[in-house]
Symmetry: D2
Subunit: 367 residues, 4 copies
């Protein structure tokens, strides 16, 4: 069966309540980083602002819990509070149905299952949920978005602790299923430790034998990469010859490594400032059509916060953004599933098996 994206339902602004709605009001920022009272906060849904009478403008590259700023030329920019500058014009109003010139379009997509077709809606996932269809859907989606979308992976370090998972993820990169990679210092460190010493936290990756002075291995890896100046240089100079960092750099994949207070080192490419890291992540969140977050609450929630439920494509068509969370704990995945969007999916399993299964599943199709 050919894969089809769900249809976007463009609102009919020639009808009520829209024709009776006022235009949206803006107010100037008076203190740097502080929004005026009664600011409108964005959601994950498509939102329209009536800028001039009968002119409803859809926000692009939105994200939740931000404010809308009207730039020069009346372009709309979804901005974090901390980026507000004195004089910025912030949209006001908390009504969601046009009362204040803002419309939040919660039922934007017509999903196949609404017509009794293949996909079905499930809001709750537990370890006993059946996931066969979710894998099959994901294969369809990844094949589609490899060429026509932008696939963002968010990785916790568990992916590089296992040989098969690490190799499968390298294969996914090489096969084109990874457009951007968001992770932390630990993922890079243990992947590079693997490349340099064949170990993860001092244990051989496959045999799990503890090597001599094993507790030095990740520190040695960090110190050597710092000595080289950057991951990229280390790879260019042939110092690093395998693994996820190696594959990502060689393939030219967009990479953001965000720092955290747990880090040793850090590795040079890691962005130490959390908010600067958010800005770098959002560059790719703005383009995402599919996000897959593996075994990391910190990075998964951070990414979830900045990815809306829809994407306006180059040809102005509107499509959903799919968001997968893979984790072992119901508690962890439900934190994200609670986004309340129909395109949030959770798979409860070990990410090692998930990555291996996805890589095999996609491979079988290509044969």
């Amino acid at each position: 069966m050919a894969f089809h994206l769900p249809t976007y339902r463009t609102p009919d602004f020639t009808k009520l309540p829209f024709v009776a709605a006022p235009t949206v009001t803006f107010e100037k920022v008076k203190i740097h980083g502080v929004a005026p009272e009664n600011y409108h906060a964005t959601s994950i849904y498509p939102e329209y602002l009536q800028l001039k009478k009968k002119q409803w403008v859809l926000l692009k590259e939105s994200r939740m819990d931000c404010v809308v700023v009207r730039e020069k030329g009346w372009a709309l920019n979804v901005k974090e509070f901390r980026h507000l500058k004195v004089g910025d014009l912030v949209a006001l109003g908390r009504g969601e149905n046009g009362e204040e010139g803002i419309y939040i379009h919660t039922g934007a997509f017509e999903f196949p299952w609404e017509k009794g077709e293949k996909f079905s809606f499930r809001s709750r996932f537990t370890r006993e949920t059946s996931f066969s269809i979710d894998y099959d859907e994901l294969y369809d989606l990844l094949e589609h978005d490899r060429d026509k979308g932008f696939i963002v992976w968010v990785l916790g370090p568990a992916v590089v602790f296992d040989r098969d998972a690490r190799e499968a993820f390298v294969a996914l990169i090489e096969e084109g299923y990874v457009h951007a990679l968001l992770a932390g210092n630990a993922l890079a460190v243990h992947d590079l430790e693997g490349a340099l010493f064949g170990t993860a936290l001092g244990q051989e990756i496959y045999t799990k034998r503890t090597v001599e002075l094993g507790h030095y291995k990740h520190l040695d890896a960090i110190n050597r990469i710092r000595g080289q100046g950057s991951i990229e240089k280390a790879i260019d100079e042939g110092f690093i010859k395998n693994g996820i960092m190696w594959a990502a750099v060689r393939k030219g994949i967009d990479l953001v490594l965000a720092g955290s207070i747990r880090d040793d080192g850090p590795i040079p490419e890691v962005i130490g400032d959390a908010y600067q890291a958010q800005d770098s992540m959002r560059v790719f969140a703005r383009r995402a059509t599919t996000v897959i977050a593996l075994a990391t609450q910190l990075h998964a929630i951070a990414t979830g916060n900045m990815v809306p439920s829809y994407q306006v494509m180059a040809d102005n068509r509107v499509r959903p953004v799919y968001f997968y969370t893979v984790d072992m704990s119901e508690f962890a995945v439900n934190k994200l599933a609670n986004r309340g969007t129909l395109t949030a999916r959770s798979i409860l399993t070990n990410v090692q098996d998930f990555v291996v299964t996805v890589e095999r599943g996609l491979g079988k199709r290509c044969e």
Copy 2:
């Protein structure tokens, strides 16, 4: 690499402390089901009793937390307390090094990793443990034991909630990797519900669509099988045409369904009495060389209680019994890993992925 079982280290009973050890003492049971004071309780390890001077006899088909009864003809029988009859001769003594004529052989096997080879010892497993080698070892082991061992699977109902996992398990049965199956009423009910209605708890297994009057489906399945008289009859008469019960019955696999207080029904084959069910399970536990327990604490612990760490084969060679627990929770698997045996392994993952991965992994080898 050819798979080799670890070597058994036969104790040298011509040396101290054995040559100085007394013979073991027995005392008669006075109350049905009650052992005499100072009874010896068995462990999971190979145990030897010195019956007559210089005659050390290895217990066969042992299990932990039982007593040793000397039958007529001096045969030794490892018996549950509840089976003790008045007059039974029970071995006494709590010393473990021959002091009372009993020797518990805790370091019985010479594992490859002790010689720096492939397998390595890991006592603790978490979701971040690398499992690639464990899968590879398991493939080796299953191929070996398919012909030369006895493979017991212990299944929780999660295996039949997912289409791919259910089909993969059927394939494992058909390929000969399943010799005995221990489970509960729920596994049978949901598997049969799947065969009859294509649902599990009223949801279509693959699409997860809820069917009309879905909450009746498992009750209807139970009621119809009860109407047929038994699972076996329902299969013989072509009433059930797919699934794990169907494959197991057609293949003639040993099957024990043990009842529990959670059960609806039950399905006719289910053994309602917990201790009678234990007896039926132990028939196969006595023969087990490999046990794989999937997503069931109740049945996994029950089986773990009755499977020793060694098996005396037909040719009197002694080999280890491997015990795998697969579950999503560290708490669950550690309950079993705490058996303290080198052949207990845990894999932290969703059993859906586990079954699919194992079936594919074995398949790839056969090609």
Copy 3:
């Protein structure tokens, strides 16, 4: 604030659709333990059957997933399938709104929060849910039901592994907050091990020091109680002098110990047959007004299966049955919370802290 039970909304059977509804049909059982096709299966909700025109009869002592049998004299009996006898008259029909003479009353109670009062509805509980109000509500409820209800506790063995929790639960028994106790062999064994040796699984309960030959302690406890003939005799003869079994027997509390395939022993009072154990549990489930299940999936689900959401009191008033599940895992509590009743509550915490907190909280009120 005085505690009030929510008001029961008696359906108005003088209106549509009831006045147009037929009387319910019954069909005879032809095979022992098998219901006729199109049997009606009960739910957790109040259900009315129109036996004769204008005579709608409310099921008493109902439980879900059973059938309704019309006894002699037209009394209605909610019966497990396995108890069906040839000739039993079973109610037919799967319509829930009177179409076949059966009405399932899902919105039966008017809860205070529907009127904007204290209690509020929450269907989902995680470890981050705020539980202060749930504790306060529980204190109100336990005080009310101590005298005017029937409080059933369902205990996993974790409650007796901790000194403070074990003592707090004994206090709850002595203060009258426990009317029936449902548990398994393990709870009794480790409680009695504590009474006899001051240990749990061979560790001193408070200091956690492992005692010599500690692994014999629970077997010795079982063997000695078996030697005494029963827990009750062991207590009567002063052999057991503290703990939950001791307090329960002395206080004359209703006690059901249900066997399982995990059991060692068992202790004499344990009921080995799962379905006979269900019958014994249901005697108290029929009377329950509040159920509190602590750290046991097996017994909690078993009890949940047999407790309806309402209770018809002696004076014919209808009140809700409250059902609390306390566990560490979202997965475990959600299995029960999914009952879909407004009176199911989950508290995510360690039962040790829960029992201690509840005992202190009730104590403070009595001062």
Copy 4:
């Protein structure tokens, strides 16, 4: 019973292998932030360096995975790699028993339980571990360290989601049991949301009723505090009148709020740069005698990384640092328990109950 700290075993450097050991070697840093090859990495244990013959110097304010720099005047400074400057003299050597002039003192403390006393060693904690003694020990410890130590709390946001826990923690602050508080933006945000609106994430804290426009509450809280300029100003000006931030600021408690990529806002006091935040946290980690980390993996692991197992007091006595982790998940607490120190303790429970129980337990003693 009076509480006693375990005795420190000062090594006897007049004996072998110490008298035969060389002095430690240092090498200059050539690249900023990069240690010379063969650098010595610190552990959590007391470590001695032989600077001159017979002069073994104990590291003060150590932390693991750092290097030792010899400052002017031969003072030793345990420094993160990223702080290394060109020319810094870094200690070399990976031997741990004096071979290279470095001695790691792993068995430094004589704990009471080694002499058969109250405390006992437990390396593994599960939800079924008995925690009564751990609470009692903690009360002793907190009373002792309130006056004679430095108690650092590390808080996840769950503590402020519950009314009783929030109030109990405020009481702990006011009673003097909190010397430093390490947390993230979310803890502050939800605590301040509580103070401003009585809600947490838009739900009333006690009743859990969702208020109108509830999803704006945490954003409004952030925006208003940003408008005030800082938490401190907001409190000074009477804008914030209750809660943990309020109590901490009024009591003058040391506070570090570390930013993360999940943050909205942030609140002005939050340190955005992860490594600058580490530096601020380490100021208090250097002084810690007891650390209690509640329901936060990120901050708990970050703090665990920088707290050694010992503290050199003002009078040069050496005492252990106690490190408690409280969480719902075995996986989470074991990450920290794996530090391999005898003073790491885990309590598996909901932090709401933990905080309330500790506050009550301490209160009872003071009466």
